[in-house]
Symmetry: C2
DNA sequence: AGCAAAAAGCAACATAGTTGCAAAATCTTG
DNA sequence: CAAGATTTTGCAACTATGTTGCTTTTTGCT
């Protein structure tokens, strides 16, 4: 019975993720992590406020996302408009140290943002004098679900 | 006398740029274009409001930047935080059609954003099903002036 | 100079994000 | 498992950012 399995699995994962990050397990944190786990694409602050319903205060959402970023649970994704989007870090991101060397994809049709975890960011040959510490790549187009 | 030359040069360039774009030549447009021409790096809306002093209404700055983007005079640069930055389009961007296939660089030290006009965005090999229409690359690190 | 069109300024509003503090929930430890 | 210490939440108030409609001013053109 795979349908019944998903929910307990999530709750388990959520609790261990929070504990590993030294964050106390609260209703808002569980709810917001759940949203990320079930959604596949990235979420904006606004998305989360809407999906979480009237359940939580706006301030709580801000502080929760901030805590998750600091602990390496989620990462931000730069966009051309000025709406920050957040997505789960897949693996070994820890407090203060993100290792997100993958490309992000924004679909013009469904307006979803996806982490392409298997597509690593390329090395960029820079002019003399510039030192690269991080490379962010955002590809825009049409995703595989939208054609 | 190179020092004296720069200002008239700018004014000339500004007038021709505006005329070419079918925009009437107004004080705010000239001032804001001047800021871009003398600054090298990209500017945020806030930068411009500050640098233009108390001279213009906030709304005017918004509408001016919007007009410049639409006419292909400036382009937006995605950032990791949610502040849009704007930079001059170098060449053949026209109304509604930007051709900015260059990489952007954000310096962690001076916090300036530069267009690396000579560094073209790489092709990204995407998973089956994804269609790329545009690629944005933002490199973060230390710029040549800051070491 | 005089007219029509465009832009700027103003006010009012809407949305987004921050901060301090008191109340509530969570964690710890005996 | 109860009590106290600690953390988190919700609330209120505030700042910042962005938008819209309308009136006045400026610009381009004849
Ligand atoms: Mn990602
Ligand atoms: Mn650029
Ligand atoms: Zn899509
Ligand atoms: Zn620098």
């Amino acid at each position: 019975m795979p349908a019944k399995d998903t929910l307990p699995d999530f709750e388990e994962k959520i609790a261990s993720l929070l504990k590993k990050s030294h964050l106390s397990v609260t209703e808002s944190r569980r709810k917001i992590l759940h949203l990320f786990l079930e959604h596949a694409g990235a979420l904006s602050h606004g998305d989360i406020e809407r999906k979480a319903g009237e359940k939580f205060d706006r301030v709580t959402v801000y502080r929760t996302l901030q805590a998750f970023v600091e602990k390496g649970i989620i990462h931000t994704i730069p966009t051309a408009d000025n709406s920050i989007r957040y997505a789960l870090c897949k693996d070994d991101c820890s407090a203060g140290h993100h290792h997100d060397h993958h490309v992000h994809f924004l679909c013009h049709r469904c307006n979803n943002t996806y982490c392409l975890d298997d597509v690593v960011t390329p090395d960029i040959k820079l002019p003399r004098g510039y030192v690269a510490e991080q490379v962010e790549v955002l590809v825009e187009g049409v995703c595989k679900n939208c054609r």
